[in-house]
Symmetry: C2
Subunit: 135 residues, 2 copies
Amino acid sequence: MKIGELAKRSGLSTHTIRYYERIGLLPVADRDAGGRRDYDAEILAWIEFLDRLKTTGMPIRDMLRYAALRAAGDATMAARREQLEAHRDAVRARVAELQACLLVLDTKIDGYVEAEERMQTHEHDTRNTGRDAAE
Amino acid sequence: MKIGELAKRSGLSTHTIRYYERIGLLPVADRDAGGRRDYDAEILAWIEFLDRLKTTGMPIRDMLRYAALRAAGDATMAARREQLEAHRDAVRARVAELQACLLVLDTKIDGYVEAEERMQTHEHDTRNTGRDAAE
DNA sequence: CTAGGGGTTCGAGCGCACTCCAAGTCAAGC
DNA sequence: GCTTGACTTGGAGTGCGCTCGAACCCCTAG
C-alpha cells in the first residue's frame, strides 16, 4: 500500500503520516523500487490504536513512550500495561469531570428556559403584543 | 479586589486575566485611583463559568461569542441558550466517544494481563525458574 | 514523448491558548 | 526617603500538533 492509499484508509493526511514517521510514532516504512513508502496492512491497526490514544487526549510524547516500549519487545509488557492503566484512569477522571460540567450546563440552560418563559408571560409589558394592545 | 487577589481566587494567572480582558472574555475592569484594575467579587462567577466551558473543550472564539451575546442583554437569551444546548450536545457526544475508547483500552489492558500471565506460566521455558530447573 | 498524478525531502508557517519579558509606575511599611 | 513588591503596557516567545510550499523525482497511460 502506498502512502496515499494508507492516508485514505487511515484518515490521516499523507503529511501527517510522514510527520508521524519522522517523530517516531510510526515505524520507518519499507520502500519500493522507486523509493516510495510501501505499507503493510498491519500498520492500520496501529494507526487506529494511536487514534484512540489521541482521541482520549494522550499527548504525542506519551504515545512515543508507548511506541518505544512496544518496539522494545515483550520485556516491556508490564510497563505498557501500566501506562495504559494510568491513561485509562486519566480518561475516566476526564469523563467524570465532563459529566460534572454537563450538570452545570443543564442547570444554566434550564435557567435560560425559565427566563425566556417569564419574558413570554410578561411580553405585553414591553412589546404590547398581548390583547391589551390590540389595535 | 486587585488582580493578584483575583488570580489567587480564580486560579488564573494575572497574565491570563489580562489576556482574557484584552481579547474580550472578561469585561474591561474598573480602575482604582492609581490606575490598577479593581474587581468586583461577581466576576468570579463568570470566570468559573468560563472555566467550565474551557474544561468542556469550548474554544475561546466560541466563548467570545457567548460573552458578546451576554453583553448584548436580554434580547440574546434565546441565542445563548441555543449555543449552550449545542455545546452540551457536543460534550455529550465527547463523553460517549471517550467511553467507547475506554472499552477499547480495557480490552487492550486485559490482553496485556493475559499475556503476562502466560509468560508467568511458561517462565521456565526461557528462564529456568520452574521446579524443572531446581538445582 | 509527454502529461499527469502520484511520490520524495526539508524547512517554514499556522492556530491555539497562553506565558513571559522589559521597562516603567505606584503605594505602603520601615 | 527608600525599599519592596504588586501593578502597568506592548510585544515577543512557547509548546503542541499539525499543515503547507517548493522543488524535485518517477511511473503509467495516451
